[in-house]
Symmetry: C2
Subunit: 227 residues, 2 copies
Amino acid sequence: MLQQVNPARPAYRPPAFAAFGASRESQADDRLETVGHLVSRTQDQEIFSEGELATKLYKVISGSVRTFKILHDGRRQIVGFHLKGDFFGLEAADRYSVSAEAVGAAELIAMKRSTLLERASRNQNLFEKLLNITTRELSRAQAHALLLIKSAQERVQDFLLDLSERAESHEVVDLPMSRQDIADYLGLTIETVSRTLTLLEKNGLISFCSTRRIALNNRSALKALQR
Amino acid sequence: MLQQVNPARPAYRPPAFAAFGASRESQADDRLETVGHLVSRTQDQEIFSEGELATKLYKVISGSVRTFKILHDGRRQIVGFHLKGDFFGLEAADRYSVSAEAVGAAELIAMKRSTLLERASRNQNLFEKLLNITTRELSRAQAHALLLIKSAQERVQDFLLDLSERAESHEVVDLPMSRQDIADYLGLTIETVSRTLTLLEKNGLISFCSTRRIALNNRSALKALQR
DNA sequence: CGGCGGCTTGATCGGTCTCAAGTACGGTGG
DNA sequence: CCACCGTACTTGAGACCGATCAAGCCGCCG
């Protein structure tokens, strides 16, 4: 049910964590995480909501997170999935421009923006890190827009490849999210996602270990993007 | 869209500009522009190309700029249009993730990233400005993704409204870009853009002053987004 | 074993693309 | 100033992909 907090390495110590930030204030620690505290969320639980004052920035420790926007007609566009190690909540100039929810159970580090900014002003390295992850996220958002003009098949293929590259194993992809989540990320309907996955399986490009676990049999063929 | 660093005042002097940056190096000038020099581009001329080492960041002084990506099949996705006062070239962690071209004749300030970063490390205000415009651009990119899942009519309407809000006059919109540019930004074909504009005109929502100049007759109706 | 939610599959519909002409506009040379 | 040209834009007819509507299936938990 709950996935493991600390998979391989025990480099991270939850209990002592909250006090951690204050104690080494003066030292030039450029790890962003040392400013924050650990929080947990259960499946589908809200983390923040579009329009809220953006006081915090997050890093995923375990589980995964979706950020999204809701259209006037009720449709949902998922802006990004954030996996272990990813940051989110960066898109906030003043208020969050998206909402965030845990996809499954998730553990996060919440960092106060103000603390981070103040520290960054005294620590060039931290400053560049902050700018870097924001820049990377910008780059990712642009790539996402590119996805949305492709054919259904390409979108699904690209999605699977992207996930596989971000996960531990590159051959078998674990999908933490539902078909509806995938559809809302790819700008398709749940039926089209399902049909496309079935088609990819029929063509031998993928195999279903289970509905939420897919083996990529032929990565290079998946990459050879057919319209 | 991106904030104007120096909104009302005409503090900017083209001729003396190049020497400007060096002379007041030591002073805490938090205007990004003081680090750069002026460059000009003619219509469709390249500014930088996707994959190039990202040494510079730009601000538009006059004219407009498109940033874009090219798909394997030759299609072009325009990531953004950058008008007077906007910054671009931020998406570059290390190398540019998009290409940039002048839409018409354009004047730009080119700022060295390294200089900017080094200055920002000694100037909290500048640092926050840099982070802010990047964050805003991220927010804009997410909004763009939202556009791409809407109907053709909504995309065109949103596009016109967005342009009108960024321009001087809110009632009459000047289109610096071609129909093809618009199509590539909205993820539509040129024919669909043309047809949709014609339809909007037939419904009385807009009027053509010329092909590149459109009057918005009923902004609130344009905002009442029909699918 | 029964029920419910998440997923798949099928049939039809509709919006956008494609292909193909036609038209207006801006620029250039006579 | 006008005729001509080329390019940008518009308009039309038909095809196609993905959405919609509607069942059915599977797996999981009680």
